[in-house]
Every structure is written in C-alpha cells, then in structure tokens.
C-alpha cells in the first residue's frame, strides 16, 4: 500500500514536470523564433528559416549604422520620456497619496471613489479631446505633450496604489514626529518617503517602462519620425510592408525586449508585493 502511494506520487510529479516542459516550449518558441528571424539575412520572410544556414547580424548593424535608421533617436526619445515620466509621477502621486492617507479634508472620500473609477477608463476614450487640447496649446507632435498625457493618466491608479501603501505605515510614527515639532512637509520628507521607498520604486518602474511599451498614444500624438518613440517606430517598420521588414523589426524589438525583461525579472518580486499590498490592503 505504501509502495503504491509512492509510485503514484512519482507518476504525478513526472506529469507535472512534463506539463512545465510543455509550458516552457509554448513560452519559449515565439521568442526563440523571433530571435532566429532577426538573424536571417535579407528581408524576404518567405525564404526565412528557423535555423538560418548563414546567420547574420546585418539587421542589428543596419539599426545602428544606416543613415536611414532613426533607431538611436527613438531610443533617446523613449529614454527622455521614460525618465521624466518616472520622476514626475513619483512626485505627483506621492503628494496626493500623502494627503489622502493622512489628512481628513472635504472631498476625500469622493476623491478615492473617483480614482477607483477613473483607472478603468483608458486614455483612448478621451483621445479626440486630448488631441484638440494638445493642439490648442501647441504640443502635438511633441514629446512634452506625450509626457503630459502620461503624467496625468497615471494618477488614478498610482495614487491609489501609493495611498494603500502609506496606510500600512503606522500612524504612531508621524504622530510622534508631530509632537517633536515636525511640520507637515518634514514628516512627509523624513518619515513617509523613506519608508515608502519600495512602492515608489514600483511606481517609478511602471512609469519608466510605459513609454517603451505603449505605441497607441505616441501614434496619435506624434507625427514626425524624428519624434517617434521606440514602440511606434518599430511598429511602423512592419505596419505597411509587413512581410518585407519583419526581420529588421525582430532585431529592433529584441534590443528593447532584453533590457526590459531583465529589469523586470530582477524586480518582479517587489512588483508583486507592491501590487498586492497597495491594491488589496489599500
């Protein structure tokens, strides 16, 4: 009987491992295929092979050296928006979250409801008006205009997230500081911010990565290629002449995917704990 249970358990474990193996193949195959495509010479997808006979780095070289390639400019644009977006969103949301977590004021409760509600409305719903608004202040086809939309659009979700985290910081700490004579801003600066570093890092990371991943807003806001962000520029590689530029797209895409994936895998533990503590206990 005991023997029997042991074999049963072994069979079970084997099946679990087989299942994982299948999942690995399903996960890995598309990514592996894209990498292999980027090593295929030429741009004719019909003659590509999964294991090219003469693999080449020509597409990678083209991205960086061809005078027709804007890839480095796009990288610079994306970095510009990403850095400012990460910094700006941390400042704005931590201020809001502090007020909502520690103060009682008129409109507080409705403000919280508003954040919860607004985070479910995608920016696309108000796109027409946003475009006209940017137009009236002369910020269409500008990275600043794009940045402004990102900064405003991230508020509902992130303010909620950070507020939830602030709530978990014991109020005794800031009350003690208040008795010692610390002002509102001093408490915020010396107590709340240092303790909230993990969630602020999550917010910064999310908002840093957003401009690298989003192609829709740039597509609506930006029109000249020298202002493109990476996602939009890459999308345009294959948008019109799909079959002719996929190999080049694959090369460009891999060069964004690798750093982002690495950062992500390194920090995913913090992401998860930040999300769960912010959003569920919030």
């Amino acid at each position: 009987m005991a023997m029997n249970r042991k074999t049963k358990s072994k069979i079970e474990v084997t099946f679990i491992y087989i299942f994982f193996l299948i999942m690995f193949v399903i996960i890995g195959y598309p990514l592996f295929w894209a990498i292999m495509m980027s090593l295929n010479p030429g741009s004719n997808m019909l003659v590509t092979e999964l294991f090219p006979k003469n693999p080449t780095l020509e597409h990678y070289k083209w991205l960086f050296t061809s005078p027709n390639s804007d890839y480095l400019i796009w990288y610079k644009n994306s970095l510009f928006v990403a850095v400012l977006n990460a910094a700006g969103s941390v400042v704005i949301t931590s201020l809001i979250a502090y007020a909502f977590s520690r103060y009682k004021f008129i409109g507080r409760k409705y403000g919280l409801y508003m954040f919860l509600l607004l985070q479910m409305f995608p920016a696309l719903m108000g796109m027409v008006a946003l475009y006209i608004l940017l137009n009236t202040i002369g910020l269409t086809d500008s990275l600043w205009g794009l940045l402004l939309i990102y900064l405003g659009g991230q508020i509902p979700f992130n303010a909620w997230l950070v507020k939830g985290y602030f709530d978990t910081i014991p109020r005794e700490l800031d009350e003690a500081a208040k008795i010692d004579g610390a002002g509102h801003l001093k408490i915020f600066w010396t107590i709340m911010l240092p303790l909230a570093k993990p969630i602020l890092a999550v917010v910064a990371l999310f908002n840093f990565m957003a401009p690298f991943m989003d192609f829709l807003l740039p597509r609506i806001v930006l029109s000249s290629p020298e202002n493109y962000t990476l996602a939009l520029g890459l999308f345009n590689f294959i948008n019109n002449q799909f079959s002719t530029n996929f190999t080049r797209f694959a090369a460009g895409a891999i060069l964004i995917a690798i750093p982002i994936a690495l950062v992500f895998l390194l920090l995913q533990r913090y992401l998860i704990s930040g999300l769960t503590s912010g959003a569920t206990k919030g």
């Binding site: 607004l118 008006a129 405003g152 508020i155 509102h184 982002i260 959003a279």
Partner: protein, 433 residues
C-alpha cells in the same frame, strides 16, 4: 426671556446672519464686518480678479456650450464646446470659493458672538497653512487629472449628443445638439445595429473567456509550482513569468507574424506536418481563437505571480487541521485555498477583466480587428474599443464613436461598482479616522 433669545437669533441684525448676508452680496464683506480686514480684502480681490479675468471666457464658453455657434465658418463648434466645458469647470471652482467665503464669514461671526478673540495675523496664517495643507498637496495632481483625464471624458460624453461626423465637421459646418439620436440610430439603422450587437457580443465573450483562461491557467501553474515535491522552483518561476517581462506589443507583433498564413511558422512549420492549413487571419472564427490563445499566453504570468505570492500566505495550520479531519486534496483546495486566494486578490482580478474589456493593443496589433465582415462597419475581431478607434481615426464618425464610448463607460462602471464593494479599503475606512 427664552422667547427673546430665539427672536434675536433669527433676526437679520444678529451678527452671524448679517455677516453671512454681507458675504453673499459681496465676497469678503462679511469678513471685513467681522474685523478680519486682511482676509476680507484678499477674498474681495480674489473674487474681483476672478470675475475680471474669466468673465469674457465664461460668457462665450457658456453661450457656445448651448448654441455650438451660430455663424458657419466663423464659429468653430468643437472649440466652442471645449471652451464651454472648461468654462463649466472654472465656474465650478468659482462657486466653491464663493461658498467657502460665505461659510467662513458665518463661522467667523459665530466665533465673535461667543466672545472668542480674533486670531493674530501669524496665527491666522498658520491656521490657513495647517488646514489647507492637504489641498495644496492634492492641487497639482488634481489640475492635471481634470484637464488630462476628466475633461476629455466629458468632451467625449458631449460629442455623443452632437451630429459631428465626416460629412458634418467644423469649421465648414456648425454642429447641433441632437439629443439621443445617435443612440437611437445605433439600435435602429441596420448596419449600426448589426455591427453593434455582434461587436458587443464578441467583446463580452472575449473579456470573459480570455480573462478566465488566463486566471485559471495562472492559478493552476501557481498550485503546481507551490507543490512541495517540485524542485528548481526559482528557475520554473522565472521562465513562467517571461511573457509578462517581454513588452506586450513586441510579443503580439511576433505572434501576428507567427500566425501569418503565408510565412508564419505555425502553418508553415508546425501544422503542415499534419497537413492542416488554418486561415488564422482571414477567418473570423480562427482569428478569435488565435487572439484568445495569445491573450492567455500574455496574461497568465501576472496571475501566476500574484497567486504564487498569496499561496505562501495561506496559514499552514488550516491544512493541518483539514488533514486531521481527513479532508481530501480536492476539499482542501475548494474550501481553503480557493477562498483564501480569491479574497486576497479579487480587486486585482476584476481589474484583469476590465483590462481585457479595454484591451485595444492586442486586437489592433494582431490583425487590426480584421478580417472584414460583410454588412458591418467593424472587423470580425473588433471589440468595442478598437471599433471606437476605427470610427474615430479612420472614418471620423465621432458622434457614433462617442455614443459607443458612453455605453462602454456604463459597463466599466459596472466593474467599478463591483470593485468598490469588494475593496477592503472602504470597509476599513469607517473606523479609521
């Protein structure tokens, strides 16, 4: 004696009523009457400058909001509409300041009646700073939120009640308010009706099936990895999370190429060995199947990671107690694990459903909502949001796009409402402050 006092209280000459009245008539006057001269003057100046600077803008804005312009080619209806909405917001701010002024005058007068001395200047400023602090903190974000998120949504709502489309567009034509005509058209005119109902049905199926699949797969994998007998947990977790780490637009475009019938590897390299060719992009049914599979691939890692975190927090003694009672594995799963996990993650799971409901990226990037369907002005895989995008940016049917957006908004509010009830935050909120 008691009668006298009530009489005095209701009398207009009583300081509190007089101060209120004065502030209703002229902002700041009540405060001056309360001997808070500086405060009164500041309020007066604020009120005057508010009126002087915004009067013309508000005048045109409110007029424009009602008429949408009267002279074609000279009045631009869309700009007037936008100005009108901004005017409403500015007016609202003005009214809030005005009401604050009245309430403050009354409070000040009551304090004086009770014989409290007026605070000194420094005290007044500290008070103002103390009480105003949360508002100062919220202000920059609030202004951005109003102009970048709320105003555009209001504008979209307004558009749904106009006749703004490709053929009737400013500055050449003026727009008109048309009431609910667009919504009526949506369910009465054949092409709109057919399109709307099929897109709507697919959106619901898409949201429910794709999201549920990614949740179930994520949960199942989290359970398996959590099994004590499994080794190399870290490696397995890292690989399983990979689809989340790769930017979604990259993976979707890769899949789009993989499923391409002429050069995609799925037909060419895999299915051809079984001599099957599936029209992944040109047949609506297969395109939908492909989309759901891709979304499951993209979405399960988040759920998996989330559940992995939560599973470790299920108290071990609950399982031990179940073992003592002779509970089977299935019973433990159903009565301990699932409730615990769902309770801890419900808000985030609802967000997953809402996210897929609005998942424009995958639909558009995979196949731009195609293939085309006869008798419809949306593609076979279009969900509501990608249809709205097409109506707006490709065929310029702004009014219909806006009407559909409102319907989506109502549905989203359904999610949100459920979210409110589930979110622990509001349950805790009561006793907290």
């Amino acid at each position: 004696m008691a009668n006298d006092q009530t009489k005095k209280k209701n009398s207009i000459t009583q300081p509190r009523n007089l101060a209120t009245l004065l502030s209703v008539l002229v902002p700041g006057l009540g405060q001056i009457y309360n001997r808070r001269i500086l405060k009164g003057l500041i309020l007066l100046i604020v009120a005057l400058s508010f009126l002087v600077t915004t009067w013309d803008y508000l005048d045109i804005g409110i007029w424009g909001l009602f008429t949408l312009g009267t002279i074609p080619k000279e009045h631009h209806s869309i700009q007037l509409l936008l100005q009108g909405l901004i005017s409403l917001i500015v007016l609202f701010v003005g009214i809030v300041i005005y009401i604050y002024n009245i309430v403050d005058a009354r409070k000040g007068a009551i304090a004086r009646e009770e014989g409290k001395p007026n605070p000194t200047l420094i005290k007044a400023i500290t008070n103002f700073y103390d009480r105003g602090f949360p508002y100062f903190m919220v202000l920059p974000g609030l202004i951005m939120l109003i102009f970048i998120v709320v105003l555009p949504l209001l504008f979209m709502v307004a558009l749904a009640f106009t006749d703004y489309n490709q053929y009737n567009a400013p500055p050449r034509n003026l727009l008109n308010w048309v009431g609910f005509d667009n919504f009526v058209d949506l369910v009465n005119i054949d092409i709109w009706k057919d399109t709307f109902f099929s897109v709507f049905a697919w959106t619901i199926v898409w949201t429910v099936v794709a999201t549920s699949l990614q949740i179930v797969l994520g949960f199942f994998l989290a359970l398996l990895v959590n099994d004590k007998r499994i080794k190399f947990k870290r490696t397995i977790r890292t690989v399983l999370i990979l689809p989340w780490a790769v930017p979604a637009f990259v993976s979707i475009l890769i899949f789009s190429a993989l499923f391409n019938p002429t050069f995609g590897a799925i037909n060419r390299d895999i299915l051809s060995t079984f001599e099957i060719m599936i029209p992944w992009l040109s047949d609506p049914f297969w395109a939908k199947v492909a989309l759901i599979m891709i979304q499951t691939w993209l979405g399960f890692p988040f759920v998996f990671a989330l559940f992995t975190g939560v599973l470790q927090s299920v108290p071990a003694d609950m399982y031990e107690a179940a073992d003592v009672d002779g509970g089977s594995r299935w019973q433990k799963l159903r009565h301990i694990t699932v409730p615990h996990v769902l309770f801890a993650t419900a808000p985030l799971l609802i967000m997953q459903y809402a996210g897929n409901f609005n998942n424009f990226n995958i639909i558009y990037l995979f196949n731009e909502g195609n293939p085309a369907v006869r008798g419809q002005n949306a593609g076979g895989t279009d969900i509501l949001i990608s249809w709205v995008y097409k109506l707006t940016f490709q065929t310029n049917n702004y009014n219909m796009a806006a009407a559909i957006t409102i319907i989506m908004g109502v549905l989203v509010m359904g999610f949100a409402f459920y979210q409110f009830r589930k979110t622990a935050a509001f349950k805790e909120e009561g006793g907290r402050y």
